[in-house]
């Protein structure tokens, strides 16, 4: 296979990653997935990635492996002056630095924007601070979970008229940030082709979350009051929602927008008696009888599997789907058709399958994903082959604890 026909588009780009937990590492993984050489810097003394602690040993955390596929590992103690020197030398032959430490941490270590740019004016710096690098609360500790709350998303992520906010256990702001980050980084690379200069980009994760709630913010601004949580309701589709199906915790969704779809639906569910009812004739009328509609729908769905509901309705051109759980996703024929899962028969965790990418590039092969390097696996090779340090120096540093 010729080099041009694979998806390794970023081959030749070298990125230093000071990344921890989810958003930063996954951003690095997405770049590595397309051929960038991503060198993750950690230190047993200075700090290891939090996700390493979720396994039986530091290399066997499934969560860590998922978020760091294809990433190389360099262990350097940044609190030692020689450690800082090593990173500066590495910066001089790299294209970008990706980091999601708390604001100010790298600067305090002597590896701030100015120091890095002094070594390499073309270096691109991409930071992912929770609340931004500046501002009265920039020092606050944030996790995806509390950023969801802070951004307004938890409040809006609820069924109507609930006594308490509910939200999600998930860390959606991390997801938004880790998909925006590689885009920003490649955008900066494209810009550098023209200007020959590096830039520093700060993506504030809380703002990324609010950016994905812009319509609600506009509504608030224009109407002068907060929008209410909408749950599974839709302003122009009736019925529209999530309905109980046969089985334990099995659900389907469906959405009906036109009269034609409603008529078809009545026929499919054997309720021709409703077809002529003025109560449900036209969108306007249906919008006034939402709870009754929901009841009618659920009477039918609860006797069926979500797969049957989806098949029967989609065959007739009505939007419906299975509320898929983890097991469903692994068997989903559409995802399988897209060759969505990378199968690792062997890893330090054990056999597993990992989601790859939402993108298919026409005429290009999807190169297989690689497992992350073991902790410190690439340290010697990077110091010797890439940075040109001799064996003696490396041994000396090992003794002094520079390379822990």
């Amino acid at each position: 296979m010729s080099a041009q026909s694979t998806n390794q588009i970023l081959k030749g780009i070298r990125i230093i990653a000071f990344t921890n937990a989810y958003a930063g590492p996954y951003a690095g993984r997405l770049l590595a997935q397309h051929g960038a050489e991503v060198i993750k810097v950690e230190s047993a003394t200075g700090g290891l990635d939090t996700f390493r602690h979720f396994g039986k040993d530091l290399d066997s955390s499934a969560r860590f492996i998922e978020c760091n596929l294809g990433v190389r590992s360099l262990t350097v103690n940044l609190k030692h002056p020689a450690g800082v020197e090593i990173i500066k030398k590495l910066t001089s032959c790299s294209d970008a630095v990706l980091e999601n430490f708390r604001p100010g941490v790298l600067t305090r270590l002597g590896l701030g924007e100015e120091e890095l740019r002094q070594v390499n004016p073309g270096i691109i710096i991409l930071r992912l601070p929770g609340l931004g690098e500046k501002g009265p609360k920039s020092w606050y500790g944030t996790w995806g979970f509390n950023l969801t709350a802070y951004s307004g998303m938890t409040y809006l992520w609820n069924h109507p008229d609930q006594p308490r906010p509910i939200g999600s256990q998930g860390v959606y702001p991390d997801h938004l940030s880790f998909i925006m980050a590689p885009t920003l980084l490649v955008a900066a690379l494209l810009r550098r082709r023209v200007t020959q200069k590096g830039v520093t980009i700060d993506l504030a994760q809380a703002e990324a979350a609010a950016y994905a709630l812009g319509v609600s913010y506009l509504e608030m601004s224009v109407n002068g009051k907060d929008p209410e949580p909408r749950g599974n309701h839709h302003p122009t589709a009736f019925p529209h929602g999530c309905y109980r199906c046969q089985g334990d915790d099995r659900w389907c969704v469906l959405s009906i927008t036109t009269d034609e779809e409603w008529q078809k639906f009545c026929r499919i569910v054997g309720r021709e008696d409703l077809s002529a009812s003025p109560k449900f004739a036209g969108q306007e009328a249906r919008s006034k009888h939402v709870s009754e509609l929901d009841q009618i729908v659920e009477e039918w769905t609860q006797e069926r599997s979500p797969e049957e509901v989806m098949k029967k309705l989609q065959e007739e051109g009505i939007a419906a789907g299975v509320v898929e759980n983890g097991a469903d996703l692994m068997e989903d024929p559409q995802l399988r058709h897209r060759n969505y899962f990378e199968h690792f028969p062997v890893s330090s965790f054990g056999p597993m399958e990992v989601p790859r990418s939402a993108l298919r590039f026409g005429g290009m092969s999807d190169d297989p994903l690689a497992l992350p390097s073991k902790l410190g696996q690439d340290t010697e090779a990077i110091l010797k082959d890439l940075l040109g340090y001799d064996e003696e120096t490396i041994q000396e540093w090992k003794k002094e604890g520079v390379l822990d």
Partner: protein, 398 residues
């Protein structure tokens, strides 16, 4: 200068709701995005919420937000004259963004191979519910269907209630951001190798990476379930009542002893060393959470967040949109930006969520009114004079 992170690139955005956020993000990266609508207007113009309750095609807030900063032209791609104008415009663009579903462009004889005859280095980005081929590719795929079929819906909401959709159209937004990454990769390849490409983006696949739903089952054989805001592995990590709302509080083994110090009169049994481990606390979260709420409910949410943060415990208030917008931190960062729209009037919208060399790129303009830039684009790019434009308009082509 900050505004021009990617100046010099041009996008024709012929997508509707599914891809609008992609065009918006590319616009905020500094690309020039021209929104192409059918003469009757994009469907999104008819989507609520509306300003002042008016649904006249210019007051949809969904349309206003997702198309801010784009220029707008009208063009009927289904008629020969419209199709030809579109092909003429291609010579001046780098990227075409579409979300019309598999085969639609082929049926109009505007498939990728036809487009590249006019613009050999063209990048075509397709966004669709399930991708351009496969057993579900022709399924109807509104936001609720793709959210359900990606696993995100199953893990969202209260376990006592049906699964709950996230606000707005997150599956469209997320796939749009993913597609934008595809555009960057394709541009990079084009600069290096001089080639265009057709990118097939699946909305389902974009969200299916989320929350380790698939992966946890594959790796550990476990089904991730709905748990409200209760974190899977950590407790207390949930929403707790305060005097004036709720706080999202997250305390691992590192934060737990500090939390007990701040909570001076905590029940003595919490000093038992068994509660030092994350797994023990998580296993008894149902017992622990109400106890902690007796402490949090003595405070206002902002006050408690500050008190906890000062000691290194990551608490943040559960904000409504107006709480967030008024937050002094967000105000100091000048995140929100004021926009004046000819029909909607003046309003505040979230700005660009990143800074370039410390400067926040500002969105240039409100969303276009229907056909606002027809003269500018067709006139300047294709040298059409007023007479020709009038003729096209009267024929319903533009």
């Amino acid at each position: 200068m900050a505004r021009s992170l990617l100046s010099g690139y041009r996008v024709l955005d012929i997508s509707s709701a599914k891809g609008a956020f992609c065009g918006k993000f590319l616009c905020d990266l500094g690309m020039e995005v021209i929104k192409v609508e059918p003469p009757g207007g994009d469907d999104l113009r008819r989507e609520p919420p509306f300003a002042q309750g008016r649904s006249d095609g210019e007051t949809s807030l969904s349309f206003a937000y997702l198309n801010a900063g784009k220029r707008g032209i009208t063009l009927d791609l289904t008629c020969p004259a419209g199709r030809n104008l579109f092909l003429d415009l291609l010579q001046r663009v780098d990227v075409v963004l579409e979300s019309s579903g598999p085969d639609y462009l082929e049926k109009l004889n505007l498939g990728y191979s036809v487009l590249t005859e006019r613009q050999p280095k063209l990048i075509l980005v397709s966004l669709s519910g399930f991708g351009q081929s496969g057993p579900y590719s022709h399924f109807k795929s509104p936001d609720i269907v793709t959210t359900a079929m990606s696993g995100l819906l199953y893990v969202s909401g209260d376990p006592e209630l049906p699964p709950c959709m996230p606000p707005e159209t997150q599956s469209y937004y997320y796939a749009s951001l993913y597609a934008a990454y595809g555009v960057m990769l394709a541009l990079w390849r084009r600069e290096e190798q001089g080639k265009g490409v057709h990118i097939d983006t699946s909305i389902q696949a974009s969200l299916a990476i989320h929350e380790h739903v698939a992966f946890t089952y594959s790796a550990e054989g476990k089904l991730v379930k709905r748990a409200g805001s209760q974190h899977q592995h950590v407790a207390p990590a949930n929403l707790f009542r305060c005097q004036d709302g709720y706080i999202a509080l997250f305390a691992t083994h590192r934060h737990w002893p500090i939390l007990l110090e701040i909570w001076e009169d905590h029940p003595p049994e919490l000093d038992d060393p068994r509660w030092k481990t994350d797994t023990e606390r998580r296993a008894h979260a149902d017992w622990l959470n109400p106890l902690l709420e007796s402490f949090t409910s003595r405070y206002k949410k902002e006050e408690l967040a500050h008190l906890l943060q000062k000691r290194g415990v990551p608490g943040l208030p559960v904000n409504t949109p107006s709480d967030f917008q008024k937050d002094p931190h967000i105000q100091a960062r000048e995140f929100f930006t004021s926009v004046t729209h000819p029909e909607i009037g003046e309003y505040q919208q979230p700005g660009v969520p990143f800074t370039v060399d410390g400067e926040r790129p500002k969105p240039a303009a409100p969303a276009p009114t229907l056909g606002q830039h027809n003269e500018e684009v067709f006139g300047q790019e294709l040298d059409l004079d007023q007479q020709a434009l009038d003729h096209l308009a009267s024929e319903g082509v533009i």
